[in-house]
Structure formats: structure tokens, C-alpha cells
Subunit: 154 residues, 2 copies
């Protein structure tokens, strides 16, 4: 069920990003706020890091954290083009899909790497599944913003 | 875990709504978009209805659906004042908290009222918990929008 929640939000975000033209991706979600392009990268980088947080894989492009995780959007930033974003998004989510599909059920209830053994003993509900639920909510949060900009072709 | 996700989002939304002054609640989240006040009512009415969707309680104020669920915001609407919204929100979420706390674990895996027995047989993951997870994502979606307006006292 938690995975269903994750898959639903990822598919929804992907469909929305793909609904914008390249030019529209440069639109901010509201005056003075993050551009859609930034949120595209923000979610992709956060999910790239997610592999490492879950202890299932490697953060493939840590050099992107400074731009997309540690800072809000800089409207002049051109780190990743729309085409590069689309490719990066696809590769990260394909990798996660494979990792999630192959993870045995009991592994989902183990602790993730962002907490210590001691903390986990105190609160075993903070496991891998709870991280994925949290990330699904995080996607929904940003979809709510992106949806404020109406794509021309939808 | 699903309940934790729900509780986290409800608490977060409540804190954010309470951070705005009454006047600020009338601000749209972006030019021409829903006012915060509308989203406050939208979430409260949707969660009022949630009791009925889950088959656990009654939709106490169905007359509010037309304004807050079936239509986008009408900037001239004054159906509920900020004080009334706050009271309604509090009563709905207190009621849900009690219902959820007292629901035996196995009841969470039963089907909700928005689907038929036949559909449930086909996909038993569409149970009460999955509805609550979905609603938690829905709260996050709107928090993402509300957060675009900065309250003066935060």
C-alpha cells in the first residue's frame, strides 16, 4: 500500500512534467517562487539520494545536491536542461522501481540509513516503508504547486 | 505507519492555518487561485466526508460540499468565517482521531464505502488504510500551495 502511494505520486508527477513544453518548464509556480524546472530537478535529486537513505543504492549525482536540495531556485541556474532532467528523472525512477520490486517484504521494515540503531530501537515504525511514505507526501506537496501553472497542451 | 502519515499531515496543516491572521486567510495562494480560507474549508469538508467514505461515521455538514468540494473557490464566498472554520476543523479532526484510535487493526484492512464488494475482491489493497494514505497525500498537495503565502507572524 505504501508502495502504491509512492508509485501513484511518481507517475502523477511524471505525467505533469511531461505535459509542459520545454519553455513552460521555466515558469515559476507563483510570482517569485521556484520554477517548475527546479522542482523537476529537486524531486529527481531527492529520489536519487533516497537510494542511499534507504541503504539500497548509491547517490549517483551528489554534485547536484547544492543546486537542487540545499538551495531554493536561482532563476538564472541552467545546471540541467529540460532534456537532461527528463533523462535523469527516468534513470533514477527506473532504478528505484527495480530496487523496490526486488526488495523482500521483511526488508521494508528494517531501519533506514538516516537513523541510528538506538533510535530505531525506540521507534521501529521509522523504517524504510515510512521513508517512502514520507517521500510520497513530499511529491504530492510539490505537485500541488506545479499544478498552479496550466500547461498549454493539457 | 499510514496513520502516522495522516497524523503528521493533519498536524502540519493545522499549524500552518493557525499561523495566519484572519485577514491573511483571505489571500489567494497564487494570483487568481484558491484562497487559503477556501483550502481550509476544502480539507475540513473532505475529512468530514471521510468518516462516511470509511463507513465509520456520518458526514455532518453535507450542505458544505457544494461550496468546498464541488466548486473551486468563489472569491466572494463567505459561507464560513475564519472562526467557524477553525471550530469546524477542530471538531472534525477530534472526531476522526477518536474513531481512528478505537478502530481495531483488522478493521483497517476492510473495504471502504466508495467501492463495491466485487471491486474489493479484485483489489483488496483498496482498503480503509489506503484511503487514509490517499487523504494524507491530498493534504500535502494543498499544504504545498498554502506554503507559497508567507504568514507575517512566522
Amino acid at each position: 500500500m505504501a508502495l502504491h502511494s509512492w508509485n501513484t505520486q511518481v507517475a502523477r508527477a511524471e505525467k505533469i512534467f511531461n505535459g509542459f513544453t520545454e519553455t513552460e518548464l521555466y515558469t515559476p509556480v507563483a510570482p517569485g517562487k521556484n520554477r517548475i524546472l527546479y522542482l523537476y530537478g529537486h524531486l529527481a535529486v531527492y529520489h536519487d539520494l533516497l537510494k542511499e537513505t534507504l541503504g539500497l543504492g548509491k547517490f549517483t549525482r551528489p554534485e547536484l545536491a547544492a543546486v537542487f536540495l540545499q538551495s531554493p531556485d536561482n532563476p538564472g541556474d541552467t545546471t540541467l536542461s529540460p532534456a537532461e532532467l527528463k533523462e535523469y528523472w527516468g534513470s533514477i525512477h527506473n532504478e528505484l522501481k527495480e530496487l523496490f520490486t526486488n526488495l523482500p517484504a521483511e526488508e521494508w521494515f528494517k531501519r533506514h540509513n538516516a537513523m541510528t540503531d538506538e533510535d530505531f530501537e525506540k521507534d521501529p515504525s521509522r523504517n524504510r516503508l515510512s521513508v517512502v511514505l514520507n517521500r510520497a507526501n513530499h511529491i504530492a506537496y510539490h505537485i500541488g504547486q506545479i499544478i498552479l501553472v496550466k500547461p498549454t497542451n493539457n
